[in-house]
Symmetry: C2
Subunit: 504 residues, 2 copies
Amino acid sequence: MVNHAFNEQISEISHLLNIINLLNWDASTGMPEKASENRGKQIGLLSKLAQQRILSKEMKTAVAQLDDNPNLSLIESRSVKAVKNAIAYFDKIPTELVTKQAELCSLAEIAWREGRATNQFSLFEPYLERIVNLKKEIADRVGYVNHPYEVATNEFETGLQVPVLKSLFEQLKARLVPLAKKVHQAPKPNNDFLFRSFPIEKQRAFSHSLASKIGYDFKRGRLDTTTHPFEISMTRDDVRITTRFNPNFLNAGLFGTLHEAGHALYEQNVAPELNQTALTLDLIGLYAVAGTSYGVHESQSRLWENRVGRSFEFWQNHYGLLQETFKGTLDDISLSDFYRAINRSEPSLIRVEADELTYDLHIMLRVEIEMGLMDGSLSVKELPEYWRAKMQEYLGIMPSTDTEGVLQDIHWSKGMIGSFPTYTLGNVMAAQFMQAALKEAPYLDQDLSQAKYDSLLSWLTKNILSHGRTYTPDELLMNVTGRGIDPSDYLTYLEQKFAKLYDL
Amino acid sequence: MVNHAFNEQISEISHLLNIINLLNWDASTGMPEKASENRGKQIGLLSKLAQQRILSKEMKTAVAQLDDNPNLSLIESRSVKAVKNAIAYFDKIPTELVTKQAELCSLAEIAWREGRATNQFSLFEPYLERIVNLKKEIADRVGYVNHPYEVATNEFETGLQVPVLKSLFEQLKARLVPLAKKVHQAPKPNNDFLFRSFPIEKQRAFSHSLASKIGYDFKRGRLDTTTHPFEISMTRDDVRITTRFNPNFLNAGLFGTLHEAGHALYEQNVAPELNQTALTLDLIGLYAVAGTSYGVHESQSRLWENRVGRSFEFWQNHYGLLQETFKGTLDDISLSDFYRAINRSEPSLIRVEADELTYDLHIMLRVEIEMGLMDGSLSVKELPEYWRAKMQEYLGIMPSTDTEGVLQDIHWSKGMIGSFPTYTLGNVMAAQFMQAALKEAPYLDQDLSQAKYDSLLSWLTKNILSHGRTYTPDELLMNVTGRGIDPSDYLTYLEQKFAKLYDL
């Protein structure tokens, strides 16, 4: 059994990181505007206290004692390894560098906001250059196998290697670009009616009921509204989601809620015995999270949003309630017209508004840029032009402003270089997981078509969710699917779905 | 200047206690129900960390160095004194005793809830006995001048002495009991219309606007709804209030909001330079609060709720908006009928529903009981009968059940023996402060009658609010009014107000 000092420290770290999550949740959901300065200091203090505990003498002694001890259980040995990795990371990255990054990013975000508002990339450019240089410095300090981008992206997806990533996107490009082209040449289904008037209170009630139906437990959660939807957990017993409702567009609130509820199902279904262990904590990111990586997390949100929530079977079961909720608004719209509308695809400029088919093309562009910046083959100055060229190549359209182009995402200004691949990894893994689930439990298809979501959730819990961060994403994928990352299931799913939808 | 180690520790303690307040706010405003166990542990950890800092070697060294140093400013010397007092307190009260109290109270609260629900005082009786014994033990350890009750009550009101308290209630009894009798024999004004239908959203908007009008700053605050209204602050830049709205009774939400906004004005108007000093912290209660005591805090809530909010002048200015807000509901009610209705007094069983005139009689009964329990002149077993007798003596009515009698308040089950006096102290001090304000700034009367609340708020800020916990309640009262606690202003105010209202 792992020793007392180790457990004691981890338990305190766990509380501290969970409290930080609550402070962040509050800051996003209605904190008084003038409270932000103090809030920053509060979070800073708790982060410092958590890090002090990771790097404490007691912890280092405990880790040295426990490391490679053959009597440890898997959970114990993986907990020790997680702490050991964090200690090694912080030994290489001095606190001053972390502080420097935080200060740089807070200025960068201001410059980015100003640049985006006024369509001036030049305002953000010098900050992005400094951020890239800092990321390169961190990569050099941490060290990498193939490519400096691996250090950046491994903050979000442990073990992800650049050759794997390159091969993944090559395969996606080869089939997605032509598929999208074909679909966009076909006649578009009508979706006017999605922009009718949908009172927010009714949207909220309907979204609430859908989240419940797929298994989100409101006794251990709550649904609020924010400009940017998110999910955040303070242990498995307190997993909160937010969404945004547009009174004149149904999709945003509806699929946004399913997406965040999918994330929440991961956190709510981690095994209770992992509570207050290192296996529900990201000790390097100093972030309480039970999911093993951003990519696997995204696989769960995409699975419930798209595979389940945008399927014909789903709406066969719930379209009646939707019509009834918005009485008089969708009476003239058939189930199949509704299904086609919510799956309509078209080339678009903005990633967060992109549909299921084009989403990964937006990601591909960003990942190529991030790699190029990190290995020096692309300079920050070149980005606006590069962006336009790639949008033309992948989607056949081009932004007329940088605001709608290279300046649209907040990520880089926050120092998040390397997180974009996880969106596509999520899509791809969701397809692999579904394939494995249906192979092992063929009855799932029928259960889904009968709105029995608990059997899919049980399968996911047993195979993925319950393990928290016990396994790396690679191990988990191998355990569950017998393969590494492989986009063939995903591509086949998209090809079949859109062929049927568009009569290709 | 106070030394670096001292400031560093205080700053961390300040953040920790402010975060605890947020954790408590969240727990009361919509935390998922199953999150409560972890929430308790989170608060427990932060309390422990705060206490460790108060009792740390660095802190003790700093205090020893700074104590009685003639070069300190008033703020510095008072900060040092606050820490010194806390160290002395915790030296006398071992951690085990605090833990024992917390455990006992969590069981006691369950027993109290059960007892209240089923009208069985016997269920709560053994727990209350143990709580009283524990409070006596604490009193003996801490030591007192006149009476063990002083230790209990000084948790809420530093320096309050029993002889002062006894004399205060004797003076109140001598004039309040006959006044109440006379008022209750007179014909009652009609108040039926206060129980008409008042949609909650409109109540919320109206209460929001009243809180704004008296100076509550929503950029540094927010208004939520909870079963039990409260105010809580996380620094002066984040001061939150809650209220409850009853769709069929106007007073609860309206005056509840004014009351909590009054508390909030205290916290929002402490001098910015006291932020993150010991003078915005209760270091013994481990609670972030800028107000110097519960009594002075209550003086501010009562002042805005009753002196301002239940005055004729207030409604002369705002009754039009109220009528307009609830169009069609109060059209037949004149301003003077409305004014009489919101000030109607009658004997009632429940403290939290009591009116301005009878409120202190409810308190008097509780304070006598608390004193008797602490000095052993009254036993827990005797309480139900004692309660009935005193209700008959002071208010001329008697509860038919203990649920409506001795079991009505949660305080004792939570170990809060000694907090009740502060409600009456608040009423009395509010009158003394108003008297001092009007003497020094006679224009305030006219400003209030013209709905210019900022001049009263400025006066209060300068004389009371800005100082935070720099002065003890006694010092503050003496500085501002030139007297100690003295109920004559308060009694005169009540006698005049009700004589006029009831044509006595």
